[in-house]
């Protein structure tokens, strides 16, 4: 059985900042990491592999340096890695991205067997849209189940899989047929440590690098800017409020004094709050 895991190399978003004068993004020195949510997808795939025997391929669409991220995934134990990289993909929104990825997955299917499952993380920490997984599912006609917390059962011969899915207010127990696209919830599993042989193998492995042509992408109008229905018209920092925060005097440096002054300030601005707090306290 062949399982494909889609992962993404993302900037460690905690470190991105805006130039205070020109309002531009300062990407300098921002380290990149493997999208944390994808680790859970990878672990789910590896567990299935351990359970029923399968091959796990990881796929990412990104710039050349995304190879580091693929190598990291190999280090966890994935069997092969494919980097889909091409200037033509620049500016892709989620529709264009799901097109490119699904074409690459088709190509991977031709090489190594059609995937029975495509795993993705629940979302990326840079885009946060959670749209690409469902996009791939639609294009490849995979049965889509998102926000999966656990794979409870799988029967490759019968082609069925049972899952637990987080829904509003509770958990759904779902069965569906393979091939399926599954987006995994975080904290649903602990990603394992690759063994020494796996780590060595990953360090030495060759990552497959495909451009658009090699990935079998015929229709370039569906890629990059051209293939993106959504258009970013404006990027900006939120307007500064006319009045920034009123600062409490801290010259005495006494925490107690500052606390008192703060409470006074709070009550002055929200007189109703004092009464509410007293009523709440009286209710104890």
């Amino acid at each position: 059985m062949h399982i494909v895991v889609c992962i993404k190399q993302v900037p460690d978003s905690a470190q991105i900042r805006v130039h205070p004068v020109t309002n531009t993004i300062m990407r300098q020195g921002v380290p990149t990491i493997l999208n944390p949510y994808d680790l859970f997808a990878l672990e789910a795939a590896l567990r299935l592999r351990d359970q029923i025997g399968a091959e796990v391929s990881v796929l990412t669409m990104g710039p050349p340096m995304a190879e580091d991220t693929l190598r990291k995934a190999l280090g966890f134990g994935a069997d092969r890695a494919v980097l889909l990289t091409d200037r033509a993909f620049a500016g892709s929104d989620t529709l264009a991205t799901s097109y490119a990825l699904s074409q690459a997955i088709k190509r991977m299917g031709e090489e190594w067997g059609e995937p029975a499952i495509v795993f993705t993380g629940k979302q990326t920490i840079d885009g946060d849209t959670a749209q690409v997984g469902p996009g791939i599912a639609r294009r490849l006609r995979l049965n889509q189940v998102t926000y999966v917390s656990a794979v409870t059962e799988i029967d490759p011969a019968a082609g069925t899989i049972s899952l637990q899915r987080r829904a509003e207010g509770g958990v759904q127990e779902i069965t569906t047929r393979l091939p399926a696209l599954i987006t995994m919830l975080e904290a649903s599993n602990e990603v394992r440590r690759g063994s020494l042989p796996e780590a060595l193998r990953a360090a030495r492995a060759k990552v497959e690098v495909w451009n658009a042509a090699q990935a079998g992408i015929a229709d370039m109008t569906k890629c990059g800017l051209r293939g993106s229905p959504t258009v970013v018209k404006r990027v900006f920092a939120p307007p500064a409020r006319a009045v920034s925060a009123e600062k409490i005097d801290t010259t005495t440096n006494q925490s107690d004094d500052i606390a008192e002054a703060l409470i006074a300030g709070i009550y002055a601005r929200q007189p109703a709050l004092e009464g509410e707090l007293l009523r709440m306290a009286a209710g104890y």
Partner: protein, 434 residues
């Protein structure tokens, strides 16, 4: 269970480890490098100085694609008291050369780049892998390592320990003692983001020029320590540290020192409008030559901070690290070529190479300084204050005639330290300096 065999295993992917691995891999040896962090440099996120000469001897063309921040054209040494700094600045157009001599760098990016070059040279790198044990044979020779990854052990003709000042492998294996609190400084650092134009206008820089400030004085509140400020492209690295035993003695906290330093009237204007992005703490070897451990043994060598190779007087560390890594690598390459075993005697070549280089020459030169500073804290506290007071008197134009001013300064000095004290200090410093 695998038992993979390598020519050499390097523990650590910092500057010394990378230098060693690069040297050996380039000569065709089968090198494995093990780094416990997520990626090389992940344990070292802050700003630092790159000494081009040391790196040039490894990679003459490093400037082509290494991530360099600014090249240093000005060095400021500041003696500070609570309201002032008395400083020596040296800025020279000569530092605006084709191949500048020092750069500021950001370690996370730089180490990653360096590591890529090491891998391109043919070394194998495993990250997120911590060495748990050295493997020895029946004659107690080191023959490999065990890691926290299950499934096997790794063997090599030589293990090079580039694991940093607090590296546990060497300590646990009994190859060296845990560094003493008096020999290690705890430094805390921050990275402040500031737009390029502001840095350039504030420090009077054009293009990629950069400034380094090293400071000492009352900012360390009576403890032995120093502070620094480096200009990167679009950020400032600022930090302060003192000997660990000093923090214990006084009960002060490193962050307290850093906050006060940032608020100092000489420093605060340099940071206005900046945004703090990262805090980090770091241990620095300060014990000098007398704190150095044994450098070689049967099947093992120590390089970089793990070997305590830091010139505390000049605040140089990464150049000693890279040089020691390179020399260790060259030693191994030579032995391999001659098909000689990596015994303690043979590996002793490494030590000899170090002694012939600036590394041990400088370490020996300053070996008395740590001891001097320990017994003579006034050097870092009293003198800056005296200097400040003298400068106040001297530069204030207030109708007092100059001879009276000179006498005043002499009186102040005599009161503060006394002529005998002064002479004694001068003598001690001269002795330690030589």
């Amino acid at each position: 269970m695998t038992e993979e065999r390598f020519d050499a295993i390097v523990v650590g992917a910092g500057p010394s480890g990378n230098a060693a691995a690069y040297t050996m891999a380039k000569s065709g040896l089968n090198v494995l490098q093990l780094e416990r962090g997520e990626y090389p440099g992940s344990k070292n996120v802050q700003g630092a100085i790159l000494y081009a000469d040391a790196l040039e001897r490894l990679m003459p063309d490093f400037r082509e694609d290494a991530p360099l921040e600014r090249h240093v054209i000005e060095q400021r040494i500041w003696m500070m008291d609570d309201h002032s700094h008395t400083g020596m600045h040296y800025r020279s157009e000569l530092f605006n050369e084709d191949k500048p001599n020092r750069y500021t760098i950001i370690r996370a990016q730089f180490d990653r780049w360096f590591s890529r070059r090491v891998r391109d040279a043919g070394a194998t790198l495993l990250c997120e892998t911590t060495v748990t044990d050295l493997l020895r044979d029946s004659q107690n020779r080191v023959i490999g390592v065990k890691t926290d990854r299950h499934g096997g052990a790794l063997l090599a003709d030589v293990v090079i320990l580039a694991e940093g000042v607090n590296g546990l492998t060497g300590q646990q294996a009994g190859l060296r003692a845990q560094p003493e609190p008096k020999d290690v400084a705890l430094a805390v650092k921050e990275m402040h983001f500031l737009p390029q134009e502001l840095i350039e206008s504030r420090f009077g820089l054009r293009g990629d020029e950069g400034v380094v400030i090293e400071a000492m004085g009352t900012i360390t509140r009576g403890m032995t320590g120093t502070a620094f400020l480096y200009t990167n492209r679009e950020s400032i690295s600022i930090g302060i540290g003192c000997l660990v035993d000093e923090f214990t003695r006084t009960g002060q906290t490193p962050y307290g020192l850093l906050d006060a330093f940032k608020a100092h009237p000489s420093i605060a204007p340099l940071l206005v409008g900046s945004e703090v992005k990262e805090y980090a703490a770091h241990l620095i070897p300060e014990g000098g030559f007398n704190a150095m451990p044994k450098l070689v043994g049967d099947g093992w060598m120590v390089v970089g901070d793990a070997a305590h190779l830091v010139n505390a007087v000049h605040r140089e560390g990464s150049n000693l690290a890279m040089t020691s890594g390179r020399l260790a690598g060259e030693t191994v390459v030579k032995l391999k070529r001659l098909r000689d075993p990596c015994t303690e005697a043979n590996l002793g070549d490494y030590r000899r190479l170090l002694e012939d280089s600036f590394v041990l020459k400088d370490m020996k030169k300053y070996r008395k300084v740590p001891g001097l500073l320990h017994g003579n804290r006034q050097l870092l506290d009293l003198y800056p204050r005296m200097l400040s007071q003298a400068a106040q008197t001297w530069f204030r134009v207030d109708g007092v005639d100059k001879r009276t001013k000179e006498r005043q300064i002499m009186r102040d000095v005599r009161q503060a330290r006394g002529w005998r004290g002064l002479l004694g200090d001068a003598f001690k410093v001269a002795r330690a300096w030589r």
